[in-house]
Symmetry: C2
Subunit: 139 residues, 2 copies
């Protein structure tokens, strides 16, 4: 966790951005609670670290992190935008009924990614694989 945290900080700094308390609070939230946080949740959690944190700054910081491809936005099962770390891939099973989300690790997209990169001359940085259906409690 501490290692990833310093990675984010390092990336920000290398890109020429200042490491302000507000940004460190947002990064802190993203790192400590490895979840799928919305802007609102990041604001609420971030204020526990840095109480003055403003809503606008959360939006600005997340936009920055997305631009730098350090995090990426996803939708789960409600109309709220959420974020995950952009390192590697993300793999979910999302229940269409209760919204429950299971993460799984094993992923078989390596070879496909290779093929697509060649075919479309596309530099692939991360991926999202999401299955939708009904969890065991809902079917």
């Amino acid at each position: 966790m501490a290692r990833e945290m310093s990675q984010l900080k390092k990336a920000l700094k290398q890109a020429g951005y200042k490491l302000t308390p507000a940004r460190l609070a947002v990064i802190g939230v993203l790192q400590t609670h490895c979840e799928h946080y919305s802007h609102q949740q990041i604001l609420t959690e971030g204020r526990k670290i840095y109480p003055k944190l403003s809503r606008a700054t959360v939006y600005r910081t997340m936009e920055l992190l997305v631009d730098l491809r350090l995090v990426r936005p996803i939708y789960l099962n409600d109309p709220t935008q959420r974020f995950v770390m952009a390192t590697g891939g993300h793999h979910h099973l999302v229940c269409s009924n209760c919204g429950d989300t299971i993460e799984f690790d094993h992923c078989t997209t390596e070879q496909l990614a290779q093929e697509l990169a060649t075919k479309y001359n596309f530099q692939i940085n991360s991926h999202l694989l999401e299955f939708q259906g009904l969890c065991k409690a809902c079917h």
Copy 2:
């Protein structure tokens, strides 16, 4: 296209919902322009079919179609929620820089889906596989 259209209509009817002009306009948009439309775009396009179409009805209809698992929401490269048909899977390459989206057909997740369904006792209905990176124009 006409076949898919009647599938959507049939599904709505079978579920006990009325086929109103407003709903047919929304369905018409989803079917005719096989794209990733936002609420706003569906409203604008839908009004070309049925001018009285209201914003609230677009939201209501999309919620309905998502509940019935006929469409599913996705996120591409801006903070707007969009929708795709929920049949089968969806496969995109999304450029982090210009937002350009390439769709591809070949997908290798069948076996993985099987394994996960068994492991988590999860009934999988559709999937989304999305690679993020830089398109050939942006790197």
